[in-house]
Subunit: 462 residues, 2 copies
């Protein structure tokens, strides 16, 4: 008999009730009495487990009664409504075969484990309720992002991971090499990269934006969705060495268009998860973050506020005594300021625009005031900045001048300047840190708990 997934059974239960079915899964619990018992099993396709009832009429009753948590089974029987019970239905087993046994030292016995402990077993933690919820939602958010952009005609571009550029010094980089580290070839006191795989020094990318811009100048609307890397030794709850980023880029678009698409995208992915993972969100709302569901539902209905950096600073300066870091025009907003703006002042997501040029990247479009650039950060309650974007400088002369001011190596950026030389357009885009979005939508507070196999300083397990 063909195996049916629990997702099918739970989502189309009318088709299966009072029918013979065959299911598979892993044992979450096993309670046996004298001549019958209950297994709860999960097959990983649906959040809610299935209750299986077994009786001593089965030839292998003894074996089943002794089955431990984590064992894999295949069960056939009849799905029976149980209107009196907590669960809506149960499977009355006719046959249970043991697919794979477990061992008494199985690390996930039926009890609550701390997230810290679960981080030590990244290969097993996806079997727990919390990580079933987190990683299914992670997958759904990824798909929602693709759907959002593809439905709007954006072309998905795989920008390269290995790069010879230092990408405007956005962060410290990992070097990529095939040179023997115990015998690095040297020439005139320097590393002889001519013997390296690419014949030059290469690193792991910190952003695909500049490459993405080249494709936006051909396809108009594009997005990237791929891994990025930071070799920063900051050991915080929010930093990982390897994480995923989404970077849409749009030609013939200005800062308003950037904000419009960012707001639309955030609402779209949250709505997608609300519709497709209600059991998971319910669980996370109950056990991980009590305000989660309310916050998500609120965002979907909000109109995001818009305010300039300069106005924000004026508002924040009035309450400077609340902050550890005092706000002053010209310095970057800290998380405490961002959260105050979005949580206390606006009580909804807010776009802060037009930051001082000196705290932003070289490629951002200079505003007419000569002091600020057309940058935007999107701040959300509970987290602060979730998206950073800008309109890009599309004027060849202004861009060249800014790069010279910053002593950048123009030769490395010739391709980028070409985009301003041949059919330049107003254009812009933003970056969304994927894990930050997953943390926000699941309520998890440590980035290590939303990455399947997190890489952080000193930690590269499995």
């Amino acid at each position: 008999m063909e195996i049916t997934g629990l997702r099918d059974i739970f989502l189309s239960k009318e088709e299966y009730l009072n029918q013979e079915v065959c299911v598979s899964g892993w044992v979450r619990s096993n309670r046996d009495s004298k001549n019958f018992g209950f297994l709860t099993i999960s097959d990983g396709t649906f959040f809610t487990p299935l209750q299986v009832v077994y009786h001593d009429e089965m030839a292998n009753f003894g074996e089943i009664a002794k089955l431990g948590v984590g064992a894999a089974v295949i069960v056939s029987g009849k799905l029976i409504p149980t209107p009196e019970a907590k669960q809506e239905f149960e499977l009355q087993a006719v046959e249970i075969s043991v697919e794979g046994e477990t061992q008494p030292d199985y690390p996930l016995q039926k009890k609550r484990h701390s997230l810290e402990y679960l981080r030590t077993i990244p290969h097993l933690r996806p079997r727990t309720n919390t990580f079933q919820a987190v990683f299914r939602i992670r997958s759904q958010i990824a798909y929602a992002i693709h759907s959002f952009f593809q439905e709007r005609g954006f072309v998905y571009v795989h920008t390269p991971l290995i790069t010879a550029s230092d990408a405007e010094g956005a962060g410290e980089m990992f070097e990529v090499t095939t040179l023997p580290l115990n015998d690095v070839p040297m020439k005139d006191g320097c590393v002889d990269y001519s013997e390296d795989f690419f014949g030059k020094k290469t690193s792991l990318t910190v952003s695909g934006q500049l490459n993405g811009e080249a494709f936006a100048q051909a396809f108009r609307d594009i997005y990237t969705f791929g891994p990025t890397f930071r070799a920063e030794k900051s050991n915080t709850q929010r930093h990982a060495a390897e994480f995923w980023m989404i970077e849409p880029e749009m030609a013939f678009a200005d800062l308003d268009d950037v904000m419009f698409i960012a707001e639309d995208m955030l609402k779209y992915i949250i709505q997608y998860v609300l519709v497709n993972a209600p059991e998971e969100l319910e669980f996370l709302n109950q056990f991980v973050d009590k305000g989660l569901l309310e916050r998500l539902q609120h965002i979907v209905k909000s109109d995001f506020a818009r305010v300039s950096y300069t106005e924000s600073v004026e508002m924040l300066e009035k309450v400077n005594d609340r902050f550890e870091y005092k706000v002053k025009w010209g310095s970057d907003l800290q998380t405490e300021h961002e959260r105050y703006l979005t949580e206390e002042i606006y009580k909804c997501p807010v776009f802060v625009t037009d930051y001082p040029k000196d705290i932003k990247s070289f490629y951002m479009k200079l505003n007419e005031d000569g002091k600020t650039v057309a940058a935007v950060d999107c701040l959300v309650p509970g987290i602060g900045e979730i998206i950073g974007g800008s309109q890009r400088e599309d004027d060849l002369d202004k861009l060249t001048k800014r790069m010279q001011e910053l002593n950048m190596n123009m030769e490395d950026y010739q391709f980028y300047l070409d985009l301003r030389k041949y059919g330049s357009t107003r254009h812009g885009g933003f970056g969304l840190g994927f894990e930050r979005a997953v943390m926000y939508i699941t309520g998890m507070s440590n980035i290590r708990d939303v990455l399947p196999f997190p890489r952080t300083v000193g930690n590269c397990e499995l």
Copy 2:
């Protein structure tokens, strides 16, 4: 007036004909007569360009008449049906504003350029017809893969890129480090990795499969879709140092299930492109690969054949005089053999199963004959192997024995053995090289022409 994308106009033309519209794009050609002229413009959202007619009633007629290829413009006017002409409609411009000029040295003047030349300008080649077609189809294939798996409840898993494992020696690896290469810290004659970012030697992954298996043992059906790396110095049309792979993995599944899902997936993505990129495929069929459309349409309708490696060898040995490399039981099939099987014998895609264990990976399930493993390669006409998969060894003792035979470091694989210790299930999966699929579906013969910014030995531009 709001800018409308050419994709909208071409796909919903009834809504726009005889209406005022505003469009944007880049000039592909400009023919001017005394008092009128024709621009063809492309905005990158649709393959077919739009013809724009302009007249000397416009104040900036002189400027427009001189516009070169590559310039960016915004045009408003009326969309008029042209039943007598080659194109179905044209835009009669009322106003054309120049968004960004171009220069006489623009490298993409209106003429055919060789693919080799275009590889030297990866930031501009997406503006050509060929690469408009290739990279839009690449994006569509990626999305079709996500849709295929998500519709079937597979969970998308981001397996890590930086890894401390040598992943069963599947290929040479790039090392990832933050150690200063001009002064590598040494200890007892070896590199002192305790000072490196992760405190140990790390590399770029060659496969996410082993990590994917851990998630399949929790979610049943999962897939990965991410970059993988090979530091092999093979300078061929089919090898890149950085490429993308899709690796689905299914618990409670055997080799039949693997073949079923692989066949279904290939047909799904080809069908998706046939429906969503007809203009692009038509172009590629005409200018790149004459048999392309017929081949794709044929595959969608074929039932893939199935044959064992042993039977294949028997058939191929009979025609051994045709081959450069002679076929013999025990050695791997070469591309010439694979193509003969799929093109000459079966004339359709074919799954070859049950290869000798010694030419396959340690994790493949040993068949009862003790000589072969439950491996499968999917061969397609015109290319040979496009997918490789297997049922995995799920028996702890057999897997341990095989790994010991191969002198593998058991400690590195403890997590992988755990999956067989706690609730092991029959399971399997496959790997699809994404670029190979893109090459197959676009007819492009060099992997450098399906990667946005290809990385190959000695080449890491932009």
